[in-house]
Amino acid sequence: MTRIAILTPTLTSADAVSNDVLTMRRVLSERGHEVRIFAENSSLAGEQIEAPAAALSYLRASDDMLIYHHSIGCTSGVETMRAAKCRKIVKYHNVTPPEFFEGISEQHQHLCEAGRSQLKEIVAARPDLYLAASAFNAADLIAAGSEDHQTFVIPPFNQADELRAGEADLELLDSYRDDSVNLLMVGGVRPNKGHADLIEAFATYYYHFNSQARLFIVGAGNNAFESYAAALRRLIDEWLIDSRIVFTGEVSNQSLKSYYLLADALLMTSEHEGFCVPLVEAMAMKVPIVAYASTAIPETAQDAALIWDERDPFLMAQSIDFLQTNEAEKMALVYRGSRRYEENFSNRAIEKRFLDVVHPQITQTP
């Protein structure tokens, strides 16, 4: 049995990194290890979360282990990595480039600048193992100085299993039961998510293909990004399509399942993703994916999605139309996705990869 501390900047609901952290704790606890979570901020009810400062007194022995999740500027995380005298693993989820927040949120711009520059400091703290959520992220680690043989790609644990098995919000399903083609975007309303392209693609589909179309934008907003949200609202007004776009805000897992059940396709126009969990959820829920090739998106979806290199709304719209009118190809694509999910991204598959890489590290004497 090993004492393990998992350290992460923030723990919140409906968040990819938080889901990875919580499931990682479960997996390691099930293997008989003593696992505790440390975070700077937490908005999760009923979770025993301790401040990062407590981690160092918890990690006493040299065969204890620290797993730090790096996703944004986090001074306490870097300092703990540097000071801990035990075995160390860093899980890198990527950091949004600060340019996206320019003129929108100075605070986020600074946090992301810090997060980017701290990568080198983390490598300087000499972790025993580097885990990257994707090969795209692994390239960042290698560039910052991590060794090839210490760097492994482990996708983040996710909630797609629960989404598959869980209940749906039936009232919500009923309220949108009509002939509309429902399109879905899942992800926080953040400046790196490419909402303008999304709206343009949707408008193109709406005006040129099918005026019986609806777009759900599912994900939490943030007061810090109000000017971004306002610009999106103006854009929607200009297009005269405000009655066809629904901003849901943050939703429960039940509602999320309903939106996936309603969706005829998931549109992913994000401009920066370190992994992109919504793609995995869509694959698990058998929803076809149309996306612009950006950052880790092509790697995660691979041949189970229609992915376009050019950001051309007509390609998006035509893709949606194609999926609506070619059932056999749509089903083939969807089942390819479902198989990809089961083989690579179900928590069981990830757990095996994770333990294969991490367990030798835990069990070997330092």
Binding site: E200, A203, T204, Y207, H208, F209, E238, W239, L240, D303, L306, W308, D312, P313, F314, L315, A317, Q318, S319, D321, F322, E329, M331, A332, L333, Y335, R336, S338, R339
Partner: protein
Amino acid sequence: MDAQIETDGLDLAQLMSQIRKDAENRKRNSFSNGDPARYRQLILQNFNAFLAPQISSLPPLQLQPELENRDRYHINDLLGFHDEVFVRNAYKVILKREPDDSGMAHFLKNLRNGRYSKLDVLSALRFSSEGANVNIQIEGLSRRSVLRRMYRVPVAGYLLRLAVAIGRLPVLITNFRRVESHSMAQLDRVATHINEAVAHLSHEMREQSKANRTHLEALRTHFESLQQQLNDLKATLQLQINSLIREQEKFAQIQNVIRQNLSTTQSELSLRIDLTTHHAREQEELQERSVAELQALKAQVEKQIDDLIERLQRSRMDLAQQETRLSRLLDGADSTPSAPAQQPAHPEQDHLLDSLYFSLEDVLRGTPEQIKEEVKVYLPVLENAGMTAGILDVGCGRGEWLQVLREAGLQARGIDTNRILVQQCKELSLDVEERDALEFLGSLADGSLNAVTAFHFAEHLPLETLVKFLDEAGRTLKPGGLIILETPNPENLLVGSCNFYLDPTHKNPIPIPTMKLLLEARGFRCEEVLKLHAVESAKIEVKDQLTSHLNHFLYGPMNYAVIARKPESE
């Protein structure tokens, strides 16, 4: 279901290049040429044009010229203004300020009711103390104002005004003409301005309507393109509907054909089924008949075989008996016929062991009650054969079997060579004699017995004697009569190796096949072998083959009986 979906056949690259081609086509045929920004702009422009039409305006018409700012003025510079503008400009030029409200009201009132001329106003301002202070030079003002002051002298002033008026009449007339022409010029300017305004307005309206026409044209083009798309869609839809209808018709036809085929097939099938059923029934009957015939044949053959065996066995028994007779004859020929017919069965010394054997009987065989219970197994054999008398028990011992027979109402006799045992039997009123078996049987007539039983008897005899016993039994039994022989079973190893020899009078253990062989050889037909008296209580729990074998060989049946029959006569 999931597993049946074929995904490997999906060529993503080919599919995406098709989508790309379709998207290009769609762009080319679209109203905005596929540029979403332009599309959006077009929509907005057309709406804005309707919401906010832009008309340029003409400069306003000015009948009074602007006042020029100068140091010196001529009186005519100011007389060109009228009314309020005149008063305001007079103030500005002469006093260098805007008029005060009371001044303005005063002058306007007097100008408008004709009490003051414009010159009066100018003089009043110029030659007021404020005007004197400012001291602006206005050519042509001073003289007239001196004169005008003289006009205000009563009577003489009037006469003076009259004289001046008459004197200035030509000037007045000239002035009047100038005013008239000025008025006419102003009227012309007004008319020209109105004409220009009308022309401008109509031009603007033409331009606007032209712009509107352009916008409308753009919208009409858009709507036409939409209409065209709609028509295309309608046509496609109609085509699809038609093709659907055709498909439906085809489907209905196919359905009909299928239905017909189905009904034909069904009737054929039912016909075939009937036929097959019929055939099957016939076949079955045939089979039944064949089976019955075969069974009859089999029974017949079996009977013939049985008869043959029966005849064989009879011949054997006959042969055996002929042998016996022959050997007796030969014996008789060899020795002097001194032996009397009624020789005692056993010489006296043979009884030396009688008491010993009597005492052993309990130990070796068991208590009478046990034995009685055990031998009851043979009762049904005799009862089933319908035998109620003519039963001989050879070596009857303590008479347990005879008692069982008596209790069952069957008549039986017993013989034994042990005097003590015979005595005991007699005490039980059993029909028992102390006789030697061979000798006793020899005294009986052919076919005089129904059954011969001999329990634990054969193993006491040497082979030769046993053979003779069998031959005598064969002779004295009626055709179909039974012989039952019980003896220790050497298949049980404990019996074969040890227990058999507990009785010192035993000769050799006789294995079941040997016993059957002997009986068959002497002409009997073996009916049944009963294996008896397994030591159930001693058996160990069966776990495997070994324990099972162990149980069989150590604790298996300790005795067996062969039930054989004398063949029926022909």
